[in-house]
Structure formats: structure tokens, C-alpha cells
């Protein structure tokens, strides 16, 4: 399977590798250490067109494909998972659903500046009492003339505070269950909309993760994304795409950790020779590389199918489930091979291990992925 790779993808990857080396890698430790949102890097990503890869040029994007976007998340996450997730949330959770479900007016108003990178996007589904069981939405949107009034709160929202455009899931008809959920496009400067303090996290510490609070936020009905009551479906489809992004982030982290480890074991000498000369090291590296490659195959297959517009729920879930587990395992082994230095913040390895963990949790935990995969087996 060649996943439809073309020369363009090679050239894109070359640009992304250079970009990551010069603009992402040198700042990754600082961004983590200071829990700082990578504002400067984002400006440079905008200039290179990285914020709108899979969106057609008529909507302000770059006219590329999902595979290209996946390569971008993967390359950037090799150096900095924080920057990787900012890109991922913006593209697959905000640009993509507006492109797929938005009206022409919504696309012109919201997608064009998002894909150009003039604006940043976010997506809000999770609530204090609606995590894995996302159907239990407590945020409500009630009609009021030509508008809807939103009340409630969302938690753990990536890009919160920095995003200009949010896609919000809210209950418009409690009695209808998941069919009573509607997606809204909400401007960051809407009256009554506030962003809570930044979560203090274990990893991806530069990314902004906050609570969103809606206090009588008035949204015109033109801002309904898709149709009334289609929100849950849109959210699930959007997460299918998002999960490929997270799988790319996970594989990127794992590759970054492997690269650091290869460099280190060649340099580090113990018992009079480089530790790369020991079979234990060699076998561990072989295992790491094999798992990363297997994960990458699942990842690229899912991205390829997405570009072919084939159903991807199960493929995306498999990719995310496996790649995130690989990320956790590989980074943990990488720390071990680094020994004491691996535990030290002087080396990037401990950060990568902390960053890896989130990939098993957000946009559906590993358990959710297993539910999705098994559902497709047992239907």
C-alpha cells in the first residue's frame, strides 16, 4: 500500500523537517518549562501555510490533502508535541467540520480566516460530567427569536483563550438525547463567553487547556453548524478525523524520542564502549523502530482513506489506539536507555514521555477507541 504518496508529499516533508529543526526544536524545552503558548512559532507556521493544509484554496487554504496535514503534525510533534496539538486541534477539530458541514456564508466568514491562519480554532465537547460519555451534555442552547442563548461550561478545551473561533456542542432538545445536541460556531468575543484559568498539566504544557464558561451567550441561528440536532453526529465524525491527528502527534513524539535515543547511545560510553554496542540497546532500538513503523502504517492508511472519503471510524480509532500506546512505550524505553540523563530536564526525553501520555487520553481515551473498534466488529 503506497497511501497515495506523491513527490509533493516528499517536498512538503522536506520543508516541514527544515521548519521543525529551525523553528520548533530550539524552543520546545522552553515552551514546556515556561508553560508558554508557542505564539512566535505559530506566526511562522501561518507564513508557510501550515495552518490550512487540507482546505481548498478558495476557502483560504493551501489546496492540499489530509495526508499532508498529517505529515505536518507528525514532523512538528517530533520536536514539540505542544505545537503539534495546537495545529491538530485547529485543523481537524475546527477547520475541517466547518469545511464539511458549514454553509457557504459560514465558510466565507469563518473558514477563510481560519485556513489562512489569521484566526485560530478550537472545539468544545467535553464537560465536567460528560467525558467518555459525551452524550450527557449539560450545556444548553435555547432559542430566543432569531438567536440561541447558550449556558453551561466546557472543560479541557485545547487552544482555549488563544482561539478566535470555537465549535461548541450544546443541548437544544434534552428529550431527544444525542439527537438533541447541536453544534454552534461561537466567536471568542461573544458577550458572556469567558475562558477559565489554564490547567496545570503533566505534559503538552505549552498548549492552552482551559474551561469555557457560557453565561447567556447569544448566538445567531445562522451559526448553527450543520442542522439542528446534528451536533452529536458532527462531533463524532469530527473526532474520527481528529484522532488521526492525535495518532500523528503520538507517532511524531515516538519518532522524536527514538531519534534522540539513537544519537545518545552512540555518544554515551560505559564499560569502555558506546552503549550502542550492547545488544540490549540494539534490541530495544529494533523494537522501538518496528512498533513506530507499524503505527505509522495504521496512521497513513487512515489518512489515505480520509482523503478518499471512505469511512474511517474504525481505522482512525485503531491508529490512535496503537500509535498512542507506541508513543508511551517508546518514550518510556527511551528514558530508560538514557539512564539518569533521561530523567534530567537537560535532555528532551523526559518531556517526550510526559507529552506522550495525553495521546492515550484526549479525543477519546484508549478505552473509547476500543469501544469504536469493537462496535464495528460486532455490528
Amino acid at each position: 500500500m503506497e497511501f497515495g504518496f506523491k513527490k509533493e508529499h516528499d517536498l512538503l516533508k522536506q520543508m516541514l523537517t527544515e521548519f521543525t529543526e529551525k523553528e520548533v526544536y530550539p524552543f520546545a524545552a522552553e515552551i514546556d518549562d515556561q508553560e508558554r503558548f508557542p505564539v512566535e512559532t505559530l506566526e511562522k507556521m501561518v507564513a508557510a501555510g501550515i495552518m490550512g493544509i487540507p482546505i481548498p484554496t478558495e476557502y483560504g487554504g493551501e489546496g492540499g490533502d489530509y495526508m499532508g496535514y498529517i505529515l505536518a503534525v507528525e514532523e512538528i510533534s517530533k520536536a514539540c508535541a505542544t505545537t503539534g496539538v495546537v495545529l491538530s486541534a485547529h485543523t481537524s477539530l475546527c477547520c475541517a467540520p466547518i469545511y464539511e458541514y458549514g454553509t457557504e456564508e459560514q465558510k466565507q466568514k469563518y473558514l477563510v480566516p481560519l485556513a489562512k491562519g489569521e484566526k485560530l480554532g478550537a472545539f468544545a465537547l467535553t464537560e465536567p460530567n460528560a467525558g467518555t460519555d459525551a452524550s450527557r451534555q449539560e450545556t444548553v442552547a435555547l432559542p430566543d427569536g432569531d438567536d440561541f442563548i447558550i449556558n453551561g461550561s466546557k472543560i479541557f478545551i485545547t487552544n482555549a483563550g488563544y482561539a478566535d473561533v470555537y465549535i461548541i456542542m450544546a443541548m437544544t432538545d434534552k428529550a431527544a438525547g444525542t439527537r438533541g445536541i447541536t453544534a454552534f460556531i461561537v466567536d471568542a468575543d461573544s458577550k458572556g463567553f469567558t475562558v477559565g484559568p489554564k490547567e496545570k498539566k503533566m505534559g503538552i504544557r505549552g498548549s492552552s487547556t482551559c474551561e469555557l464558561i457560557f453565561d447567556n451567550v447569544r448566538v445567531p441561528k445562522e451559526n448553527i453548524l450543520g442542522k439542528l440536532g446534528y451536533g452529536f453526529k458532527i462531533a463524532m465524525k469530527t473526532l474520527d478525523g481528529g484522532r488521526i491527528g492525535i495518532a500523528a502527534q503520538a507517532i511524531g513524539i515516538a519518532e522524536g524520542a527514538l531519534n534522540e535515543t539513537i544519537k545518545y547511545v552512540k555518544e554515551r560510553k560505559q564499560f569502555g564502549r558506546p552503549i550502542s554496542a550492547f545488544q540490549n540497546t540494539q534490541f530495544e532500538l529494533a523494537n522501538m523502530a518496528t512498533k513506530i513503523d507499524a503505527g505509522r502504517m495504521l496512521l497513513y492508511r487512515a489518512a489515505y482513506k480520509k482523503d478518499l472519503k471512505e469511512p474511517i471510524s474504525s481505522d482512525a480509532a485503531m491508529a490512535k489506539l496503537y500509535c498512542s500506546e507506541v508513543a508511551m512505550e517508546v518514550t518510556s524505553k527511551a528514558v530508560q536507555l538514557h539512564g539518569g540523563y533521561g530523567y534530567s530536564r537537560e535532555y528532551p526525553i523526559e518531556r517526550m514521555m510526559r507529552d506522550a501520555k495525553i495521546t492515550e487520553i484526549y479525543e477519546g481515551t484508549s478505552e473509547v477507541q476500543k469501544m469504536v473498534i469493537s462496535a464495528s466488529l460486532l455490528k
Binding site: A29, K263, Y264, E267, R268, K269, Y341, E346
Partner: protein, 329 residues
């Protein structure tokens, strides 16, 4: 062009001062001329430069060709190309040597093109093939990974630019006899085909340590911030930059942007002189690709010696002042 097996050295002057490399070229030029059974000639181009022609003679040129003209006050490649080409046409040398400076590396290509002959850049070694009388021009390529010996068998003169600092200066001897010959290169205002608006001399700016060709790097072993003065002095003498290990950055002896290693910069200069650096892995990973590594450390078991071309066991604070003295000789 009939050749007389002579060697012509272009003597570069700007603002009236002769470049060191040009004197060095008079040394190698004489050696080559002797091997060719010819004479060493020199050429100097500028405005009001007559008094420098004697100096050139003292360093061994038998004939000094002078193109002196107000038009040549500032270097402009057209007027200088015309002048040097004229001298070459008059003297018909076998070999022409030019210093590989910011001026010479601009002038020599134009002259060689005008004469339709070969030019070899940045040579570090020159010799004569005694069988063919061809000039053997050896130069580094591929970022110094490869040395190549170039010949120019069928075109004359054989032209080469030579790296400064490579050849040995001849001794100055005021008893030498020589001839000074003025050359009229028929220059006109039209040869000033660009307009010099301003000439500014400025001290060397701070450069990034990644770009430096010489790095004097300090480690904890130098003992105190005060001792950094010697490091800076040494860097100045070697026209290099100062860098350091994480330890000296943490102690505030130098700025963070000069740190070499895992959490600092990766460097690969021509010379990395490690002063009092133990060589922990996180430091070595940032400098091990340097071309020449010389290290000074008190501990004979220091890991830095494993990646050094030359290791000196001893007190860095005693050795550096001695080295400064030695270099200032």
C-alpha cells in the same frame, strides 16, 4: 601569449595598507619562480601608492609594476580588472597569484575570464610539477572534507587565489635591488561603472558561535569569572569567538547564547580550544564534529581528551597566558 616563466603576484592594498597575504604570496611566488627559472614580479594597483612599491621590492619582487591613477582610489572591479589584465598582458607571466580576500576573490575571477584562462580558488598549497612545469594548485573542497590538486595545462597564465595565513612571509631586506615600472592601463571615467557612495571601516561585529571558525571555549576548570579575560584575549588574537560549557553559563561567567552542548548550540569550527572543560557527554555532543580539537585539563583522565586531537594535561590558567605570550611573538 609567449611566456617567460615568470611569476606575478598581485599585491592588494586598500586605504594604502598592504595586505599581509600579499607579502606571504611574495614568499611562495619567489619559490615558484625559482623552480621555473624565472623572476618574481609584483603588481600594485591604486591611487597615490608609489611609496609602497619599494616595500614590495624589499620582500623580493624583482620588478614592481605600478598602476597609479586617481580612478583607482576605491576598489571597483572593472577598473582593477582592466589594470591587472593590462599588467598581465605586459608581463606575460606563467603564474599569477592573488590573495583569497574579499577583494581578491572578486577581482581574480573577472581577470581570468577576460584572459580566458583557468583560476583555482583558495589554494592552501602550491608547487611546480617539474616534468610539465605546470603549477600544482591544492585546495580544500566539500567543506574541507576533500583536498583537490588542480592544474591548468593549456591556458596561460595559471591563476590561483591563495588563502591568507597559509604561506610563510619572506624576510624584509632593504638591500634588495628591484625595478619599479609604471603601467598606463588607459583608464577612463567609464571604467568606474559603479558609484562608491561611502566607505566605512568597522570593528568586527559579534557573530554567532555556530558561525565562528575559531572557538575558545571555557569550562568550570578556569575557576572564576575574572579568568575569562584571558579567554577573551586569546580569542581576540586568534580572531575567534568565546563559547563555554553549561557550567560556566550557569555560573553567569558567559551568556547563555554562547553555550555549547545538549542544551546549547552545536558547533563545528576549524578550531575548538577547550579550556578547563571536562567533556561530559552533553557537552561533547555539541562540539565533536569540530575540525581540530585542542583541550587543556588538569585531570589526565578527562573525557574531553577522548575527542581531542591534542590534549594538554595542566593548569589552564598557567598555560593560556603562556600561549598568549607565544602567539604574540
Amino acid at each position: 601569449m609567449k611566456n617567460n616563466k615568470n611569476v606575478l603576484v598581485y599585491v592588494e592594498q586598500r586605504h594604502g595598507a598592504i595586505e599581509n597575504v600579499s607579502i606571504e604570496l611574495l614568499g611562495i611566488g619567489k619559490t615558484l619562480a625559482d623552480k621555473l627559472n624565472g623572476d618574481l614580479y609584483a603588481c600594485i594597483i591604486g591611487n597615490d601608492i608609489e611609496n609602497q612599491s619599494n616595500e614590495i621590492g624589499y620582500f623580493g619582487a624583482k620588478k614592481v609594476y605600478v598602476v597609479d591613477n586617481p580612478i583607482l582610489e576605491n576598489y571597483i572591479n572593472e577598473s582593477y580588472t582592466k589594470s591587472l589584465t593590462k599588467v598581465i598582458n605586459v608581463t606575460k607571466p606563467e603564474v599569477v597569484l592573488v590573495g583569497a580576500t574579499a577583494l581578491g576573490r572578486d577581482l581574480a575571477p573577472r581577470v581570468s575570464s577576460r584572459l580566458h584562462t583557468g583560476l583555482t580558488a583558495d589554494c592552501t598549497s602550491l608547487d611546480i610539477d617539474l616534468e610539465t612545469n605546470n603549477l600544482l594548485m591544492t585546495r580544500p573542497a566539500f567543506g574541507g572534507n576533500l583536498m583537490a590538486t588542480i592544474v591548468c595545462p593549456d591556458h596561460r597564465p595559471q591563476m590561483s587565489t591563495v588563502r591568507p595565513g597559509v604561506m610563510i612571509k619572506p624576510t624584509r631586506d632593504t638591500s634588495k635591488t628591484f625595478e619599479v615600472i609604471k603601467v598606463d592601463a588607459s583608464l577612463t571615467k567609464a571604467d568606474m561603472n559603479v558609484e562608491i557612495l561611502e566607505t566605512v571601516k568597522e570593528a568586527k561585529k559579534l557573530i554567532k558561535i555556530e558561525d565562528a571558525t575559531v572557538l575558545i571555549s571555557a569550562g568550570r576548570g578556569i575557576g572564576s569569572k575574572e579568568k575569562m579575560e584571558d579567554i577573551y584575549k586569546l580569542a581576540d588574537i586568534l580572531t575567534g569567538e568565546v563559547s563555554g560549557s553549561r557550567a560556566v553559563v550557569d555560573m553567569g561567567w558567559i551568556d547563555k547564547d554562547r553555550q555549547v552542548g545538549q542544551t546549547g548550540k552545536t558547533v563545528r569550527p576549524d578550531l575548538y580550544l577547550a579550556c578547563g572543560i571536562s567533556g561530559a557527554i552533553q557537552h561533547v555532543s555539541g562540539m565533536e564534529d569540530s575540525n581540530l580539537v585542542i583541550s587543556i585539563n588538569r585531570n589526565p583522565q578527562a573525557a574531553i581528551f577522548e575527542v581531542s586531537d591534542v590534549g594538554i594535561v595542566g593548569d589552564v590558567n598557567k598555560i593560556i597566558p603562556e600561549l598568549i605570550k607565544e602567539l604574540q611573538k
